[in-house]
C-alpha cells in the first residue's frame, strides 16, 4: 500500500485484501498477547477459577487459529507471537490475576474494532462476535459494566 489510497484504489480486490489482512493481524497480535497473559493468570488461580482461566485461554487459542487461517486464505503471512510480553499489571495474587484477565479482555475487545469496520459482512460479524465474547469473559472476571467496550474514549467525544 503506497502512501495514499484513493477511493478507487480501495475498491480494487488486492487493496481490499491487504486492508483485511492488516485488520486480522492486529486482532491476531492481541490474541497472542492474551494467550501469554492467561498463562500468568492461571498460574495464580486454583480450583474453579483456574478452570475458568484455562477455558478462556482455549477460547483465545481458537480465535488465534481462526485468524491465522483467515490471514493465510488471503495470501498473508501470520505474524508469529513474541517470545514474551510485558504485562500491564504485576500479578502476585488471585485478585491481581483476575484484574489482569480483565485488562487482557479489554485489549482483545479493542483489537477487533478494525475488523468491524471492513466492508465484508462476514468479517464484520466475526469481529463483533469476538468483541461480544471478550466483553462477556471480562464481565465474568468481575469487570464493572462498561457502556462502550472496545471504543476509545476519543471516539465518544469524552
Amino acid at each position: 500500500m503506497s502512501g495514499n489510497l484513493t477511493e478507487r484504489g480501495l475498491a480494487e480486490p488486492r487493496a481490499r485484501r491487504k486492508q483485511e489482512v492488516a485488520a486480522l493481524q492486529a486482532a491476531l497480535a492481541a490474541e497472542q498477547a492474551a494467550i501469554y497473559g492467561y498463562g500468568i493468570v492461571g498460574a495464580h488461580l486454583t480450583g474453579t477459577l483456574f478452570a475458568a482461566a484455562f477455558a478462556d485461554s482455549v477460547e483465545h487459542q481458537r480465535a488465534r487459529d481462526s485468524l491465522t487461517a483467515m490471514i493465510m486464505a488471503r495470501g498473508g503471512q501470520p505474524r508469529p507471537a513474541a517470545p514474551a510480553y510485558r504485562m500491564p499489571i504485576a500479578v502476585h495474587s488471585a485478585a491481581q490475576a483476575r484484574s489482569l484477565a480483565i485488562v487482557l479482555e479489554r485489549q482483545v475487545t479493542a483489537a477487533y474494532l478494525g475488523l468491524v469496520a471492513l466492508a465484508k459482512p462476514a468479517l464484520r460479524r466475526f469481529g463483533a462476535n469476538q468483541m461480544r465474547a471478550a466483553a462477556v469473559r471480562s464481565a465474568r472476571w468481575g469487570a464493572r459494566p462498561q457502556a462502550f467496550p472496545g471504543l476509545p474514549a476519543s471516539s465518544l467525544g469524552r
Binding site: 480450583g47 474453579t48 477459577l49 475458568a52 475487545t109 477487533y112 474494532l113 468491524v116 469496520a117 471492513l118 459482512p121 464484520r124 460479524r125 469481529g127 463483533a128 462476535n129 468483541m131 461480544r132 465474547a133 471478550a134 466483553a135 462477556v136 471480562s138 464481565a139 465474568r140 472476571w141 468481575g142 469487570a143 464493572r144 459494566p145 462498561q146 457502556a147 462502550f148 467496550p149 472496545g150 471504543l151 471516539s155 465518544l156
Partner: protein, 187 residues
Amino acid sequence: MRGHVRAEPTRRLTLVAAGACSLALAGCKGLTALGARPKVDEDVIALDHAITAEELMIARYRLALAALPAGQHHAGGTGKAKAGGPDRAVVGALLAEHKEHLAHLRARLILPPRLATASPQPSPTPPAAPAAPHQILAELAAAEAAASDRLVSWLPEVPPALAQLMASIAAAEAAHVVHLGYARLAP
C-alpha cells in the same frame, strides 16, 4: 419502464417513474411534491431500528426498577452481584448505560428521527414486567441477549464507524447478561 412491463401505466406508476427519474437525475431534492417517496437507505433503517431497540430496552429497565422490591438494594452496593443476585444498583447502572447507548445512536442520525413520521416519542410498550425479582432479571437478560444478536445482524447495512459503535453496544449488552446474574462465574 421497459417495453416488457405489461401493466397499463397507471397514474401512480407514472409518478413513481417520474420520481425515479428525478431521483437519478437531480437527487430528488425539492421534488417531493411529485408524490414519489424518497427511498430510505438501508443504513438509516438499521440505525432507526437500533434506536427503537434502545428505547424499548430503557422502558424495560424502568419497569423492572419500579417492580423490583427496595429490599433488593444492598447498602453501598457497587455493582458486584452478591449471593442473593444482582440488586437495584446493578439494574440502575445498566439502565444508565442504555441511556448512553441511545444518546450516541441518536447523535449518528442525521435525518429527522422516526423518518419523519408524526410521533416524536413512540413510547414503545414492552410486556408488563412480572412480579418475582428473579423473573424480572431473567426477562431483562433475555431481552439483552436478543438485542445484542439483532445489532450484530444489522452490521452489514451500516457505514464503518456506525458498525463499530453498534458492535460495541452489542458487546455491552452481551456483558449485561452476565451482570444480571446469568452465566456468572460460580464463586
